[in-house]
């Protein structure tokens, strides 16, 4: 489906902490087309500074009681200019939203689904969890954050019936340390290869570690890569990821159209 560009209005902006917020915008045209793992390119001004849009996963697709899509939300973490502006938006403000873009996650061909999220990498997993639960796939979320109060939407996943495995760097909730710790423990407990599909989104070192673990234990993995993106449509070649191709050659692939979701076994980690 071709993407659409809408000048959407902010419905609400809930600050979860000093850095995180959930921005809900009236972009039903985008939400109705979105598949889990896809992203949008956002801009908070039509002036030329800041000029380029920024990529964001679609966090939630929000429906009314009749099931009609009314809005989408974004889980935003302040990192610079536009994410700072998004943090400060108020109801009624305009946002330019282009999407949906990119390749979505693929549902598991068989077995269970394990989602692995680091920090703001939680973003693509709300819609993925809903889709997996609808397909009756047993789903677990391994979710790591810096501190307990940066673990968000736990109730949402709990209500869906997703099994939660939490880690914090300071040990304030769940297991202390990195999310890859409990992930490896669980992988060790599996009876053989190809029993779970692992989905990961978060900082690149985490993605690399998850992909390597998946490979070591013989499970397929899909990773959502974060790159600086100029256009989101394949026009600029800014967003490339080195990918090993079937002919054995490594080539740069534009992650906005050849991703952001990649087969973890094909990414060449740097």
């Amino acid at each position: 489906m071709p993407p659409v560009d809408v000048r959407a209005t902010v419905i609400s902006n809930v600050r979860l902490s000093r850095d995180y917020n959930v921005l809900t915008i009236a972009a039903p045209e985008v939400g109705a087309l979105t598949e889990p793992g896809q992203f949008v390119m956002l801009k908070t001004t039509d002036a030329s500074d800041p000029m380029l849009r920024r990529p964001f996963s679609v966090f939630e697709v929000l429906r009314d009681d009749l099931g009609t899509v009314r809005a989408i939300s974004i889980l935003n973490k302040r990192a610079g200019r536009t994410t700072g502006l998004i943090y400060g938006l108020e109801a009624g403000d305009p946002v330019w939203c282009l999407g949906p873009l990119g390749l979505p996650f693929n549902p598991p061909s068989s077995g269970a689904a394990w989602m692995v999220a680091g920090g703001v990498g939680l973003a693509p997993f709300a819609t993925l969890a809903e889709a997996l639960v609808a397909l009756q796939v047993p789903t677990t979320l391994f979710y790591g954050a810096r501190t307990a109060d940066e673990l968000y939407y736990l109730e949402f996943f709990d209500r869906l019936g997703v099994t939660l495995v939490l880690t914090t760097e300071d040990g304030g909730a769940g297991v202390q340390g990195r999310v890859t710790g409990p992930l490896e423990e669980s992988l060790k407990g599996l009876g053989g290869p190809n029993l779970v599909t692992i989905y990961a989104c978060g900082p690149e070192p985490m993605l690399a570690a998850v992909a390597r673990l998946a490979e070591r234990y013989g499970q397929p993995s899909e990773v959502s890569m974060e790159r600086t993106m100029g256009c989101g449509l394949g026009g600029c070649y800014s967003c490339v990821v080195p990918v090993k191709h079937a002919d054995g050659e490594t080539r740069y692939v534009r992650s906005c159209i050849g991703g952001p979701v990649f087969d973890g076994a094909t990414v060449v980690w740097e």
Binding site: K43, S48, L52, R53, R227, G230, L233, Y237, R251, Y252
Partner: protein
């Protein structure tokens, strides 16, 4: 109301309007077929192509700057042979007027790429990239020397009947003298500007924002300089000029045309708004109606310098 004529001719290339997608800002064109009917553009300029496939630079490849952006992609591309077999047939099917941006590390490579493309069906013109600031070998070396520019253009002129459009760099004191060298060498038109060599630094990390350290600046930040350069070139050469640099809306298109451009290219703005093309056409149509202009070409070089614009007209 009589029909409005926005057409532009560059040698054998006839475009229904002056709006072209700039090289490196529109993939190979096909990436955008879902958002714009490619046949409605004046022309589609491909990503720069060498003889062979190239991987380009490591990320980071772009960085935003005030009202602009830096890029150092390093001309990642599929090479001329794959372009001809994989992209050209589809571009023909979509009825896109295809202008191929060609690169070379040596004079021989430029000539070879030009020759191969001239034999392919569906290429409408060649834009000669002698102005990419992001690669060490070739390209810019030709574009920064008058002799180099003359020799590349005349060598390509000898092997092709396609319109030849050298793309000039702004990173010289007088682009107009390069326009003259290009015209003398037999160019059908010139295009300008490519990006301005520039850099940006992350002061916290004390590191360059681009892996290539330096890159090319594009976007509205460069527009006034690009307009001045087009205006200078207009006074130096007779051949058509394709102007570009920071065009964001139809007024910017008109600014370049009034300064002397026969056609324009839009690059960075397409990243910001991929649906820009219809808006530009609507804006031009509205302007022509308001000013009772039936031939857009009549505006080319129509700048009246006898006195400045009234500040509060």
């Amino acid at each position: 109301m009589t029909a409005l004529d926005m057409s532009v001719r560059i040698g054998s290339l006839v475009m229904p309007n002056p709006l072209m997608a700039a090289s490196g800002c529109f993939g190979y064109g096909l990436e955008y077929e879902d958002v714009v009917d490619l046949s409605t553009l004046g022309g589609v300029v491909s990503k720069g192509l060498f003889l062979a496939e190239r991987q380009g630079h490591k990320p980071e490849r772009i960085a935003e700057t005030p009202s602009g952006m830096l890029n150092a992609i390093g001309l990642q591309g599929i090479g001329v042979h794959r372009f001809i077999s994989e992209k050209l047939p589809l571009l023909r099917e979509r009825k896109a007027r295809t202008i191929v941006n060609i690169c070379g590390t040596t004079l021989d490579e430029y000539v070879e790429v030009a020759r191969i493309l001239s034999d392919a069906e569906g290429v409408d013109a060649l834009e000669i990239n002698i102005s990419c600031p992001n690669i060490k070998e070739g390209g810019i070396q030709f574009g920064c020397s008058l002799d180099g520019t003359f020799s590349v253009v005349s060598a390509i002129r000898k092997v092709t009947t396609l319109p030849v459009i050298p793309k000039l760099t702004p990173n010289v004191t007088s682009p107009a003298s390069f326009a003259r060298a290009a015209e003398d060498a037999g160019a059908d038109a010139i295009s300008l500007v490519n990006t301005f060599l520039a850099m940006a630094i992350d002061v916290e990390q004390r590191k360059p924002k681009l892996s290539n350290v330096v890159g090319g600046l594009s976007g509205p930040a460069i527009r006034p300089i690009a307009v001045r350069m087009v205006w200078e070139c207009r006074q130096e050469v007779k051949i058509p000029i394709v102007g570009m640099g920071g065009i964001m809306d139809h007024r910017d298109v008109l600014e370049f045309m009034i300064a002397g451009a026969n056609a324009v290219q839009v690059g960075t703005a397409n990243f910001v708004d991929p649906f820009i093309w219809a808006k530009l056409l609507d804006g031009l149509t509205d302007y022509m109606q308001r000013h009772q202009i039936t031939r857009l070409a009549d505006l080319v070089g129509a700048l009246d310098t006898t006195s400045p614009a009234k500040a509060h007209a």
